[in-house]
Subunit: 291 residues, 2 copies
């Protein structure tokens, strides 16, 4: 298949690499030193997103944030102006579910398909083609893209229509962020009450408090090993997406707002590049502990 891939960062590069290795014809929009190896292996370098969209039948985006998707699709020399009917745009970035519905409608007006397909699993998942991919869009577009998703990921779920993939990703980041907050408060409490947080974690692992976060991030908090993993800075971007989307939907999410504020504070304290389990440092700092 002729595939365009726009956004060759930490995640996009290995994902595009898997598609190329699987025998697809790959078109990339810019060649930086980090992506030169894709061209060396046979990818075609294009000058603009429009050129990519002219050459490819399926255009995949993997860029940082909502405005980046807007720019790549609808900016000058963007994808939209070069799309011919029947092509398919797949946005694998993590962006606003609300904006996604608008983007998809504008692409649909060009008689092209659109899928939102954000991922979780991080750099390790991208390199090992083991990503979790949450997809929103029509069943036909999903069926067309499935072989590509299977080349890049392991757990692939069509959650529903346009935007529902992004919604699932935001829901995921809300739960992960607030559960980290939960475990951090509990372990900080245990430490201050004079108990051994490691033994408390152990006693809790069998019951209703058990979670992947208590298991993995709880251990990081206890050992104070905060190498990412997933950086607070990036999770903060996702929490901001949740807070902005909640505002657009006119719903109040007080726990999400609180956790985002604590992540803001973590960045202010210089902890932005720690793993998100490092949020326990922010909580401790609040009461004059640590540092």
């Amino acid at each position: 298949m002729k595939i365009g891939f726009i956004g060759l960062g930490v995640m996009g590069r290995p994902m595009a690499g898997h598609l190329l290795a699987a025998g697809h014809e790959l078109f990339v929009n810019r060649v930086k030193p980090v992506s030169q190896f894709l061209v060396d292996q046979g990818a075609t370098a294009c000058a603009t997103p429009a050129e990519v969209a002219t050459a490819a039948d399926v255009v995949i985006l993997m860029v940082p944030d909502t405005p980046d998707v807007d720019e790549v699709l609808f900016g000058t020399n963007g994808v939209a102006e070069a799309l011919s009917p029947g092509k398919l745009v797949i946005d694998m970035s993590s962006i606003s579910p609300v904006a996604t519905k608008d983007f998809a409608a504008r692409i649909a007006a060009k008689n092209c398909g659109y899928l939102d397909a954000p991922v979780s699993g991080g750099e390790v998942g991208a390199k090992n083609a083991a990503l979790t991919i949450m997809v929103g869009g029509s069943e036909d577009d999903f069926a067309r893209a499935l072989p590509l998703f299977e080349t890049m990921g392991k757990t692939i779920t069509r959650v529903g229509g346009i935007g529902d993939g992004q919604t699932a990703k935001v829901a995921n980041q809300i739960i992960v962020g607030l559960t980290i907050e939960a475990v951090a408060e509990a372990l900080l409490f245990a430490r201050n009450a004079g108990a051994d947080p490691a033994k408390v974690r152990e006693a809790l692992m069998g019951g209703f408090a058990s979670s992947r976060i208590l298991e993995v991030h709880g251990e990081r908090m206890i050992k104070e090993t905060f190498d990412p993993g997933f950086r607070i800075r990036l999770h903060n971007k996702d929490m901001n997406l949740a807070v902005e989307s909640a505002r657009a939907l006119e719903i109040g999410l007080p726990g999400t707002a609180l956790t985002q504020q604590l992540m803001n504070a973590a960045l202010g304290a210089g902890d932005g590049d720690l793993d998100h389990s490092g949020l326990i440092r922010t909580l401790a700092r609040l009461s004059g502990q640590g540092d």
Copy 2:
């Protein structure tokens, strides 16, 4: 063994029943209609906690809150005034870890042992002798009590010294409460963004958002079946314990405080006797949804 059991409520009755069935000599402090069956089966009724403490070698408490333990132990005709050296007090109520250290010290002054041993698992766990028991106290006292714990529970952990059992229980309730809040915000978000919350939950179950709460309470939220389970009213008592203990320890736990406030509101709205997964109703109500 001669065992005193004070507090024959929903939890205490089946727990005392297991001890009696295992062949122990049981002394209870009051006989209400609900506990008459214990006397029918051979338990001895005493008039006061002091009488129980005179007759028994090990006195178990299972009462609602910190002031109740204070009253039973140190009130008029309380346990403490009748204790002779070498006896053991086991408090299986869920109360303040800070107050527990004071209570234990006053019991130690009478040359008696003390264990704090709160449980989780609820009425079902009590009836099936399948409780999780989190214990604080000396290794010797723990060894002495272990056969009794094994008669009432399944997962028994000595977390550490005096108070550490209560600390683990509070930590457990913090995590459970805040994870319910996390799942409720995520599913409310999904519903408002137009996605099917059931499919979002499904897509999230394999990854870092997975937890017992997402599995069990997430399903209750989606199906809107809020029969307890564990009542918001009781969880609110535990969250209050966390907030009071945090105040005593001079640490700030903002997520715990927020969740307690939402539980207060749930009680005000008449939802106190719903399962704690019903907290999603409080969140929805905040934005004018539901009811």
